[in-house]
Symmetry: C3
Subunit: 130 residues, 3 copies
């Protein structure tokens, strides 16, 4: 298992970690890679990376659906970040063929920050075929 350290720079942020995941995968093997975010106010997602406007639209939609200002019961001020983390998910599983991520042409892997800026970690675990 490899651990990536990721620095986020905004309250809401999407950081492209695709190349770092590529480097963490063993060469030549078939299987799948698990990416896991051990934080409750951040997450992991796959989407288009070519046009940065897609990331902006996604973060804006999440702010509209789950506004940072409540009302919420949780008193730490980041209830919205917890909720967005659940909606977009904490783990990814991506097939690997001969050591290469089976991402689509337009797909990139992002750490999704909802309560930054912070230092975050992503666990990378390779799983083999049967």
């Amino acid at each position: 298992m490899t651990t990536l350290s990721v620095r986020t720079t905004q309250t809401d942020d999407l950081v492209d970690i695709t190349e770092r995941v590529r480097e963490a995968i063993p060469a030549g093997l078939d299987g799948a890679v698990v990416l896991y975010c051990p934080h409750t106010t951040a997450g992991l997602l796959v989407n288009e990376g070519a046009d940065p406007d897609v990331a902006m639209d996604l973060l804006a939609a999440l702010r509209r659906l789950v506004p940072r200002d409540g009302p919420y019961r949780h008193r730490e001020g980041n209830a919205a970040a917890h909720i967005r983390s659940v909606l977009t998910g904490s783990s990814l599983l991506i097939p690997v063929q001969a050591g290469r991520l089976a991402l689509g042409v337009w797909q990139r892997i992002f750490l999704a920050e909802y309560d930054g800026p912070r230092n975050r970690e992503v666990l990378v675990q390779f799983l083999g075929p049967g």
Copy 2:
């Protein structure tokens, strides 16, 4: 790894691919199957397939939560499809016992199309136990 080709027929569409996934799983083995959608405006999900109204309700809810007409910054007109893809997810992991998918009685596997009609692909990768 097997690749399924799936034709969607509507702008928003749910195509039941359960039987095709069943056929792609190796016989007799224990483990889990990864299904992966390499597209950024489509996804994969599991839900009820017995009553087609459930699929209609789901697509209507997604249109209400993330309307196709913005305002969005992304200029290709499909920002909503990218956002819905993130909310419902690009991969599935389903346990397999003795070569059989451990789906619940009412569960079916769907390709979720948010920017169709198009030809889509689904990657199917079997993973073994430890």
Copy 3:
């Protein structure tokens, strides 16, 4: 594969199953554990468990985003539960190191009930490294 039986006690409920998952994992191995919910009106999610207000805020947000009272086409009265199940997901994948779940400090595993109270099941399957 192990099957956990979980009793939910509210219409909308989050039941912490972290300790039961820990007990179901083989000792000493590296890999990942798949948790799978075979129901179409419930799901599985990871989030903070220290402050129970986070769970309350999450369930309230889901009721606001996907209200129980429609209008929906599905006539069984639980269309919202199907939709919430898709939004929050039916499976989890959590890395395991030397037999220990790689959960973050604040993370707990929850069965999410959206149409209870009911008896639910969670499948637990260990997957090994390559």
